[in-house]
């Protein structure tokens, strides 16, 4: 693994792609080692708010990273004002990422809920367009659907039924009889819990990407842990560090 670093990078482009959702490309050499399911920390310039915000990587090209994020507070509100050419201070590349090799040559189903959808794009690309992506939105205010369609078999679910299946990603999987050898998922905790149960019933592996409030982002502070079934190799208790041992875990290893 490449050494992590903090750097001042340049915004290549930014646009609003849905209500409260922004799509930014960052010019950075961190792209060289980044892969699906990893994340970066983004530091606000506002000095009242000092910690880096973990934001998942949506797409990687030769010279940059794409992040698609929701405005959730002061930090992300600030990032959303950045324009082409502005500086952006980032820490990366962080986290383990999705085990792409576990999806290759199999019926891989990628489940993204809300702001958990973006990391599925790079994963779909890494899987050579062979995967099925089920994306769950609140309503018809979709985002990334064009990119996902180009890189996967895309199925859409909306909470209000305005597009695709009415319900969540699991409703869509069941209704449309989507069969999976392996699941990769990112989204809110209730969704991940349901996926864990579903995967255990079907006896298939599910790799889920977790979120938690973080401080250091590099595994030192032990702020962002999740409960594990077995004693973790690093902590020697039933806690794994989401920022470093994760954010992607095999659901069956977790006590969600």
């Amino acid at each position: 693994m490449e050494q992590k670093k903090k750097q001042v990078a340049i915004v290549r482009s930014q646009e609003k792609i849905a209500e409260g959702i922004f799509d930014m490309w960052i010019q950075t050499d961190l792209a060289k080692t980044a892969h699906a399911g990893q994340f970066i920390g983004v530091y606000p310039k506002d000095k009242s708010t000092l910690l880096p915000r973990p934001i998942s990587i949506c797409q990687v090209d030769e010279e940059g990273l794409r992040i698609v994020y929701r405005i959730a507070g002061k930090g992300t509100a600030e990032f959303s004002t950045y324009q082409k050419g502005d500086t952006i201070t980032i820490l990366g590349v962080l986290g383990n990422g999705f085990p792409v090799e576990q999806g290759t040559g199999k019926k891989a189903v990628l489940l993204g809920g809300g702001i958990g959808i973006p990391p599925m794009l790079q994963l779909a690309k890494a899987l050579g367009g062979q995967a099925t992506v089920v994306a769950g939105y609140r309503n018809q205010d979709l985002f990334l659907e064009k990119d996902l369609k180009e890189n996967s078999t895309l199925v859409i679910a909306t909470e209000d039924g305005s597009v695709g299946t009415k319900g969540n990603v699991l409703t869509a999987m069941k209704e449309q009889n989507i069969d999976a050898d392996v699941i990769f998922a990112c989204g809110p905790m209730p969704m991940l819990k349901a996926i864990k149960t579903y995967a255990e019933e079907k006896n298939i592996p599910a790799y889920v990407s977790l979120e938690e409030r973080m401080a250091c982002g590099v595994g030192a502070c032990l702020g962002c842990v999740c409960k594990t079934k077995e004693v973790d190799h690093h902590s020697h208790v039933n806690n794994a560090r989401i920022c470093t041992d994760g954010p992607v875990f095999l659901a069956s290893d977790l006590d969600l």
């Binding site: 708010t49 000092l50 409030r213 250091c216 590099v218 595994g219 502070c221 032990l222 842990v225």
Partner: protein, 300 residues
């Protein structure tokens, strides 16, 4: 130019240490900084057995800082010695092990296991605000602090640093109690106890309700306490609390600290420790200071 300082006979190449709990055992930050450049690495607190810590959320941001309630999660002294101390042995820096416990016996067990190890000093955490049993009580009552210091000192082979809580009425009295109990040095401040409420969800932001506040927001309280404590005792004081850059570090030294620790600043800037080492050298050059020891407590 001399940047080295001595604490309880232990010579540090420079006064810059890491704040316990913010730097792991150095492994994670060795991606960013050369540990050989640091005066000392102070490890995350370690207990006699593994501790699971508190439920999440464990951290939350506040204006100019953060609250944490990790709850001293640690893998226990045995794993720590095998893995963390072995890792740190590779570097030319002093190792200070932060020791936590819920009873005097637990502290003593850790201290005794470390007796023959290659550890320069022990920092005794009697001031963690996030662990229910014992710990903080030792650090908020002068008589208790005296007693626990005395008992640990009697068993410790290395010099002991008592880490003091700022959540007290009279920090000078606490510093004196630690000194009277035989402490070789004191370090302060640990975090200020704080709370944040999410008014939209009507919940505490931390699962533990309260958490320890760190970051630049707490610096003025820390500088004041370092000044008061260092003027109350003869033993060296290690200053910390909101140090972000070399100027902050120098402020603590002028207030009376012999060495300083960089804590939450690591989260904000993973290069902070070494940048502070370099910044202190730069300041000394610009201000024609030949020996860093000349500025310790220079403000009366």
């Amino acid at each position: 130019m001399n940047t080295s300082v001595t604490i309880a006979g232990v010579n540090l190449k420079n006064p810059v240490m890491t704040g316990s709990g913010t730097f792991g055992s150095g492994m994670e930050y060795s991606d960013f900084v050369d540990l050989n450049r640091l005066g000392a690495v102070v490890t995350k607190g370690v207990a006699n057995v593994p501790w699971p810590g508190n439920p999440t959320p464990r951290v939350v941001e506040v204006y100019g800082g953060m609250l944490n309630a990790i709850g001293l999660q640690n893998p226990g002294i045995d794993v720590f010695m095998e893995r963390d101390l072995a890792f740190l042995k590779q570097f030319d820096t002093k190792v200070i092990v932060n020791v936590c416990g819920k009873t005097v016996e637990q502290y003593v067990e850790v201290v005794e296991k470390l007796a023959d190890s290659d550890v320069a000093m022990l920092e005794i955490n009697v001031s963690c605000p996030n662990v229910k049993e014992g710990a903080i009580a030792f650090g908020q009552d002068a008589k208790c602090l005296f007693d626990v210091t005395k008992e640990i000192k009697a068993k410790a082979k290395q010099p002991i640093i008592m880490k003091l809580s700022p959540n007290v009425t009279n920090i000078a009295e606490m510093a004196k109690a630690a000194e009277a109990g035989g402490a070789d040095a004191i370090s302060l401040i640990n975090t200020l106890t704080g709370m944040k409420i999410d008014i939209y969800r009507r919940k505490f932001a931390l699962a533990n309700k309260t958490g320890g506040m760190s970051g630049p927001a707490i610096k003025p309280v820390a500088v004041r306490m370092v000044y008061q404590a260092s003027h109350a005792v003869q033993i060296p004081v290690i200053g910390m609390g909101g140090i972000q850059n070399a100027e902050d570090a120098i402020e603590f030294m002028m207030a009376g600290a012999t060495a300083i620790s960089v804590g939450a600043a690591n989260f904000i800037n993973p290069y902070a420790t070494v940048e502070i080492v370099e910044g202190i050298e730069q300041f000394m050059k610009e201000q024609n200071i030949a020996d860093i020891r000349d500025i310790i407590g220079c403000i009366e």
